[in-house]
Symmetry: C2
Subunit: 648 residues, 2 copies
Amino acid sequence: MNNTAITAMRILGVEAITKAKSGHPGIVLGAAPILHTLVTKHLNVNPNDDKWFDRDRFILSAGHGSALLYSAYHLMGFDISIDDLKNFRQTHSKTPGHPEVNWVSGVDATTGPLGQGITMGVGMAVAEEFLASKFNTKNLDVVNHYTYVICGDGDLQEGVCQEAMSFAGHQKLGKLIVLYDSNDVQLDGFVNMANTENVKAKYESMNWNYILVKDGNNIEAIDKAIIEAKSCKDKPSIIEVKTVIGFGAPGSGTSAIHGKPLNAEQLQEVKKFYNWNEEAFTAPQAVYDLYKEAVNNLGVKKENEWNKKLEQLKVENLDLYNEFVKAMNNEFDFGSVSTYKAGESVSTRVAGGKAVTEMSNNCPYMIGGSADLTCSTMIKGNDGNFEPTNRQGRNINFGVREFAMGAIANGMNLHGGVKSFTGAFFVFSDYMKPAMRLAAIMKVPTVYAFSHDTIAVGEDGPTHQPVEQLLGLRAVPNLLTFRPADANETVYAYQYAFNAKYPSAVLMTRQNLPVLENTSYDGVTKGAYVISEAKGSVDGILLATGSEVSLAIEAQKELANEGINVRVVSMPSTELFDMQPKEYKEAVLPKGVFTLAIEMGSTLGWYKYADEVMGIDKFGISSPLKEVVSLYGFNVKNVIETYKNSQK
Amino acid sequence: MNNTAITAMRILGVEAITKAKSGHPGIVLGAAPILHTLVTKHLNVNPNDDKWFDRDRFILSAGHGSALLYSAYHLMGFDISIDDLKNFRQTHSKTPGHPEVNWVSGVDATTGPLGQGITMGVGMAVAEEFLASKFNTKNLDVVNHYTYVICGDGDLQEGVCQEAMSFAGHQKLGKLIVLYDSNDVQLDGFVNMANTENVKAKYESMNWNYILVKDGNNIEAIDKAIIEAKSCKDKPSIIEVKTVIGFGAPGSGTSAIHGKPLNAEQLQEVKKFYNWNEEAFTAPQAVYDLYKEAVNNLGVKKENEWNKKLEQLKVENLDLYNEFVKAMNNEFDFGSVSTYKAGESVSTRVAGGKAVTEMSNNCPYMIGGSADLTCSTMIKGNDGNFEPTNRQGRNINFGVREFAMGAIANGMNLHGGVKSFTGAFFVFSDYMKPAMRLAAIMKVPTVYAFSHDTIAVGEDGPTHQPVEQLLGLRAVPNLLTFRPADANETVYAYQYAFNAKYPSAVLMTRQNLPVLENTSYDGVTKGAYVISEAKGSVDGILLATGSEVSLAIEAQKELANEGINVRVVSMPSTELFDMQPKEYKEAVLPKGVFTLAIEMGSTLGWYKYADEVMGIDKFGISSPLKEVVSLYGFNVKNVIETYKNSQK
C-alpha cells in the first residue's frame, strides 16, 4: 500500500505541473518517498489544526518542489482539494508556485529563495529549545517538537545555508533534522560540475550528525535514518538520501527533468512506469485512508495528549500556564520605556540599545543579538548568551553571519512564542536584504536594528558608510524603515516596530545627537510631523530625517535671524507617512510651499516629497566623522546657502 | 634582524592607530609575523612597479588590519611615507581606514566587508589559471604567480567565503594560498562563542590543503608552511596560523584589543614589551635595508626575469606576444553584434544571450557564467566549461552561489587580462548586491546580467518576482543599470556595458517583446530618448522602460485615435540620462509637459522625472505572466485611463 500511496503522491504532483504547464517535476518524482516516510512515520501535524503550537515544523527548503508538498498535503487532509491541485500556479489559487506561509495550509515558511528555508528551520529549532527550557516542567513537556527540512543541492551551495548550518552545529540543535534530497543534478547539469565536496566529512566537521541513505526509494531505510537522527540529542542531523531526479520519467537522472513540465505523452510514460491506471487527478480511497490513519496516529494523537498536558499545567502551575498561552498567542507586552530630556546628548545607538534592553526586561520572550557587533551596535538580548548549556539565555551570538542571522530571526518569529530581533551595521543590511525581503513577503514582524547609519561612520571609509541602503529598504513592500532624529524618536520607533504586524528596520547613529524638543510617539508613528514650526507664515520647509533633523533646526534658527521663516519636518518613516490621510499629509507638507529635503543618503527617492534635495549620490571617504559630514555638505552654512539659492 | 623588522612593522602600525585614535591594533600586533614572512620570503611584488602584471596578488581580506598593511608597505618601499602613516584614516590620506585599490599603492582589492576579500582572491586565481593556459608556451611562463590572502575568523564565518572556498576547492586552484590569522577572538568575544568547527576537517572536505602553524611568532614554521602550500599543485591551501591577538599589548588574547586604539600609556607598554627604543614613527635603517633586500631578491628580480621572457616571447611568437600585451592592457575588442528587425518577437534574455556569445566570439578574454541558471538566463561563456582539465573553457559554472559569483567576477576583472561577467535571475541580485556595491566602490567594470526582470516572471510567484531591486540598484553610485526595451536596446546596452569604465547591471525579460522601430545605440547610451514622437504638438509624455515601452507605444496609438498626442520616451538608464547636458534632458523631457512614468517596479524613484507614476509598490503573485501583468494594471486600457484621469 505504501508504494501505491507514494505513486499517488508522485502522479498527482506531476499532473498538476503538466496541467499548469509550469513547475518542477524532477523533485516530485525523486523525493516523494522521503516525504511519504516523513509524514507517515514521524511528522506530528494536524491538518484540522494546522497552527497547533507544538506541531513538528516542516519546511520544504527546495521550494520549487511545491507540487510535491501540495500533493502530499492534499492526501493528508490539509485544506488543498483536487481542484486546488488542478489550479496549481494559477491566479489566487491555494497552490502558488512556491509554498507560501499563511496562504497555504500546513506551510510553515515561504520558500523558494534557496538556502533560506533551511536557515529559517534553524531559527525554529532555536525557538523550540528556548521555549522548551522556559515552559517545560519536570513532568510536563508542553514544548517538544522536531523541525524537519527537506533541502536539495542548491540549498547547500548557498552561503546563507552554510552560515546557518555552522551556527546550528555549534548550538547543538539536536531536534533539527535535515533530509537532503541528494540527486546529483542541478539546473545546469550534474552537481559535480560545480561541487565536489565530501558531504559527510564537511557536516561532521561542523558538528552535525551525518546519516546516509543509499537508496531513496527504500522507505524502511529512510525511516531508520530518521529514527537514528531523532536519537541523536546533541547534534542536528543531516540525512543524505540518494535519489534519482525525475524517477520513472523520460530524462530521469538528468537536469532535463528538473524544471520542465512533462508533456501529455511523457506523463503517460510515467504512469505506465508506475503501472498507474487511475483517472487523471484521482487516487484510490485506500491511499487517502492510509494517510488519514498515519495522521491520526501521529499529529492528531499527539495533539490530544498535548491538550491534556496543557490542562495539567493549568492545574499545577496556573501562572506558567497563563504565560504560555500568552506566548503561544504572541501576546507580548513590551511595557514602557524611559525617554530623554531635551538638551541631552546621546547617540541613538545607545538610546536604541537601552530601549531594547528595557523592553526585554518587560517582555521575557524577546530574544536576539547581533552578527558579532554587539559592542558597537549596542543591541543585545538579556539573560546571558543562548547556548547549549543556557537555553534561557536571550542574547544570541550569531557570529559574523549577517544573512543567516536575518533568516534565523525570521524562523524564530515564524515559530511563534518569541519575538526575535537582530543587530548589525547599516551598510551590512546589504548582506541581510534577501532575508528582510522574505520577512516582508511573509509579513513576519522581525525587528532589524542597524547602527552606523550614514557616512558619519567616519574613519572606516566607503565600505562601511551607507549611502543607498535607506532608499533600497524604503522600496521594499511591507517593510517599515525608521530613521529617528534623536534618542526619543528612537525609543518611539522601537516601540512601534516591536508591536507592528510588519518587519521593521530601525536605523541608529554612531555619533551623539542632541535630544530635541517636540518629538512625540504620535509624530513618529505618523511617519512625519512638524518638529519645529516656522515663526509666522511658512516661507518654506526643511524636511529631514535622522541626524539631519537637528541640523535643519539649527539652520532654521539662522534663517529666522535673516527674516526667513521655515518649518522643520522630521520624517522618520516615509512608509508610515504615505499611509496617512491626504489631509494630514497636506497639513504637514502643504502643496505649493517650497520644500528642501535633507538626508545623508541617495536623493532619488526624495522628489516625491520635496522640490529640492540635499543628499549624497556618491560613496563616502575615510575621514573623521565631523570632517566627512561637513565635506559632503552637511553643515548649517551649506543648508542655508542651498535653501537661499533655490529661492532665486 | 627579522625580529627587529617585525617589531618595526608592529610598532609603526599601532603608532598610526593611536595617533588616528581609530583603527584595529589587535591584528597588527598579532599577524605581523605572518605578513613579514610572506613579504620577505615569498611575495613577488615590485614597489616601484606596483601594477606589474605577473606580480603575486595579495589581499588582506581582514581589511580592518589596514595599519599592518600600510606599515609593511611603507617598510617595503611602496608609495607610503611616514607622513602617510601619521595621516592614517585622515581625509584624503593615502592610508584610508580600509585598503582601497587604485588609491593605495600595492593594494590589489578593496577590502573591509568580510568574506569578499578571500572571494576576490579566488577570482584572481581563476584569472591566473585561465591566462596561464592561454599565454604560456612550452618554455615561457609569462603568467605564473600566486594569489595570497590573509583572512581572519570573521571572513571564514561569512557565507560568501564558504561559497567561494567550496568553488575554489572544486576548481583545484592550487596557486591560491590563504593565510588564516587564527587568534580565537572576534569582536564580541572568543570565537568559540559562535563557532566550534573542526577547521582542518572542514576545509579538507572541501578539497583544500590544510596546514597548521601552531605558533604564529615562529617565522620559520610560517615559511615552511608556505613552501609546503606552494608545492601542493592541485589544491588551494589554507594555512591556519595560531596567533595571539594584540600580542604584547595589555588585553592581548582578548576582544578588548580587537578594535580599540591603544592610548599613550598602553603604547608605551607595548614598546617596553618589545624592547623598542626608537623615536615615534621611526625605524632603524637596517630594517629598511632588510625589506629592500627581500623585495629585490623576490619581486624585482622576478620582474626582470619576466621582462626577458616577454622579450623572448616577442621573438618566438609575435602574434601571441601582441595578444598578451593587449590583454595585459585590458584592450578588449568586442566587435560588432547582430541586431534585429523591427516587428520580430524576441525575449531580451535570448537577445542578451546571443549578444554575449557574439561578443565572446570576438573577444577571447570574455569569461563568465551563471549561478546554475544558464539554461534560463541564456548567459553563457564560450569554449566549454572552465575546469581543472580545461583551463581555456570560458563558461564558469559558479554553482548556486550568487554572492560568490559576483565577487569572483570582480576578482577576475581586478586581476586584469580578462573581462568577466555573471548571470542570474534579477530577484537574486539581492544575494549579490554587496559584491556589486564593492565593484562600484572600486570602479571594477564587471557586467552583471539579469533575466526575469519583473513580475512577468509569472508562475514562480512573489519570491521570484523583482519589484524593488531596480530602484535599489539605480541608487548605487558608480553602478550603471540598463533596462532595455527590446532586443536591439539589449544589444546596445551590452555593447556599452562591456566597454564601460564602471560596473553595469543589464536587465532582461523572460517573455518575448516586439522589436521596436527607432531604437538606437545613441539613444540607449544617452540614457533616454524619444522612441516614438507625438503626432503634432506634444500633449504629454509616456516615459517607460523595458517591456513597458512597447505597452506605452500601443497606448500612444490608441490615444492618438482619440486626438491625444503623446510622446513616448524610452529610458533604459536613468544614470546615463542624468549625466547628459541640461539641454538634452529638457529636449527629451520638457518642463511643463505632463509626464506619466510607466515601469513594473517601485514608484518612489520616478517622481524625479515624472508627474505621475504607474508602478508596483507591493509584491507580485503566482500567476501566468499575462494574467499577473494585467492584474497589476499593465495593460493598454489602464495606461490610457491613468493618463486621461491625470488630465482631469
